[in-house]
């Protein structure tokens, strides 16, 4: 759409920011990326997301949209002509929304507990994480993408977590590839898409970030 101004407030390393970047890249949309320092939130962020004060925020022609999956759906609906992310069939759409919601409800929180806790709690988090990945692997089945033949909404929702796997695996002492080989195959397939490879953070940088965050929070 000519004359569209798109700004994204996000942070490097945030899976939620990455979802928005992947979606915009899939649609070939140019945008201005503004990196937020979460320890020192900008007046703009506080103005456009007064309720949650969180990233990501998409600002389209001056109007803010908040919450990563809501942003992705918005992007899909506005720029509907290219690379549709949600399927057209209502039942398939409902399934896609269900699974994206599942990712939201389960993955971040469990992943965080792997690096933020120790001992029994950490072990439990690791087991739970593997269970979640196995459930997702089951849903993927033999399809190339969660969206079927085409990269879609659930793929966008989940793939940013892939760059966090290295950190989770290091702190949890497991290998996702051993536990869920098909899921890792899927992730590598997604990484072959430029929209994904250009948007995802460097796993080693993520790992370093978690190491320093643990120090800051005083977690062993």
């Amino acid at each position: 759409m000519a004359g569209d101004k798109v700004v994204v407030l996000g942070t490097y390393g945030s899976m939620f920011s990455m979802r928005v970047q992947v979606a915009l890249a899939e649609k070939g949309i140019e945008y201005e990326n503004k990196e937020e320092d979460l320890a020192n939130k900008s007046p703009l962020l506080l103005e456009v997301n007064p309720v949650h004060k969180k990233i990501p925020v998409l600002i389209h022609n001056g109007k803010p949209v908040c919450e990563s999956l809501i942003i992705v759906q918005y992007i899909d609906e506005v720029w509907h002509d290219k690379n549709p992310l949600l399927p057209s069939d209502p039942y398939q759409r409902a399934q896609a929304r269900f699974w994206a919601d599942f990712v939201d409800k389960k993955v971040y929180d469990c992943g965080r507990r792997i690096w933020a806790t120790k001992g029994e709690e950490k072990e439990a988090a690791k087991k739970e994480f593997i269970g979640i990945m196995k459930t997702l692997e089951g849903e993927l089945g033999n399809k190339p993408y969660f969206g079927g033949e085409d990269f879609g909404y659930v793929d966008v929702a989940l793939i940013p977590f892939y760059c966090w796997f290295h950190a989770y695996e290091n702190f949890g002492n497991f290998k996702t590839e051993t536990e869920c080989p098909k899921l890792v195959e899927w992730a590598k397939r997604c990484m072959q898409r430029e929209s994904v490879s250009k948007s995802l953070a460097d796993p080693h940088k993520i790992y370093e970030f978690v190491v320093s965050l643990k120090k800051k929070l005083g977690i062993e």
Binding site: V65, E67, Y74, P90, Y91, R93, A94, F98
Partner: protein
């Protein structure tokens, strides 16, 4: 539409189930309500929602759909010839979804928090985030209703359903804790909207009566304190 078979697995006190019922009513869709027995989960529920094992589950021509807001969007898309539930403009849709998520993630847990707070101090602290949330929704109502009766304008829409489904529990919380949440003086628009919403034909037989729900709340609280009984 060729003969549709619609079943809804649910329970009368659940606001999430109520959302699906209201949406089906708006579209005049006939459905079979399969009431779950309190304290146990049916085979059908476990089979239809193996991931979360929760209600509501809508089964449409043998295909299950789970998660109340996903169900509402599905109903809107399938029965597209009926009155529309979601707005057509993408920005308005995003706004509606934002507030529905806020209600589920922040407001509803805060309302529940009032009921479980122990003592006057805790109760006062628990009420604050609810009042803040309702103030946000009062503001949003003014913006999206554009002077009409509902968040959806002339007729009930997505956010009306997402929020209105909690009115039964909001009233129970007010009654059992002697507190005004939707206050005629502080949130006059929400106050008027609540009455209109509950009186609407698609809603009036769905949102449980306050007394009946209060009785259920007492049973629920007792069960939560004594899980074995």
């Amino acid at each position: 539409m060729a003969k549709d078979d619609v079943k809804l697995i649910g329970a009368w006190p659940s606001p999430f189930v109520n959302r699906a019922q209201i949406a089906l009513n708006i579209k005049s869709v006939k459905y079979e309500f399969l009431e779950e027995k309190f304290g146990s989960k049916s085979e059908l529920l476990l089979k239809s929602n193996p991931v979360h094992k929760k209600i509501p589950v809508m089964i449409h021509n043998d295909q299950p759909i789970c998660e109340s807001l996903v169900i509402v969007e599905y109903i809107d898309e399938v029965w597209s010839s009926g009155p529309s539930i979601l707005p057509s403009d993408p920005y308005d849709r995003a706004t509606g979804r934002f507030w529905a998520a806020y209600i589920d993630d922040k407001l509803f847990p805060a309302i529940r928090g009032i009921g479980t707070a122990d003592g006057e101090e805790a109760k006062k602290a628990a009420i604050e985030p609810v009042i803040e949330g309702l103030a946000y929704l009062e503001e949003e109502f003014i913006k999206s209703s554009k002077g009409k009766n509902f968040f959806g304008g002339d007729k009930i829409g997505y956010l009306d359903i997402a929020f209105g489904s909690f009115l039964g529990w909001i009233r129970v919380t007010e009654k059992m804790n002697s507190v005004k949440l939707i206050d005629e003086s502080k949130t006059p628009n929400l106050f008027k909207w609540a009455e209109k919403f509950c009186a609407d034909n698609s809603v009036k037989d769905v949102i449980p009566d306050t007394d009946k729900l209060s009785e259920f709340a007492k049973v629920l609280m007792a069960k939560l304190r004594n899980p074995q009984n």
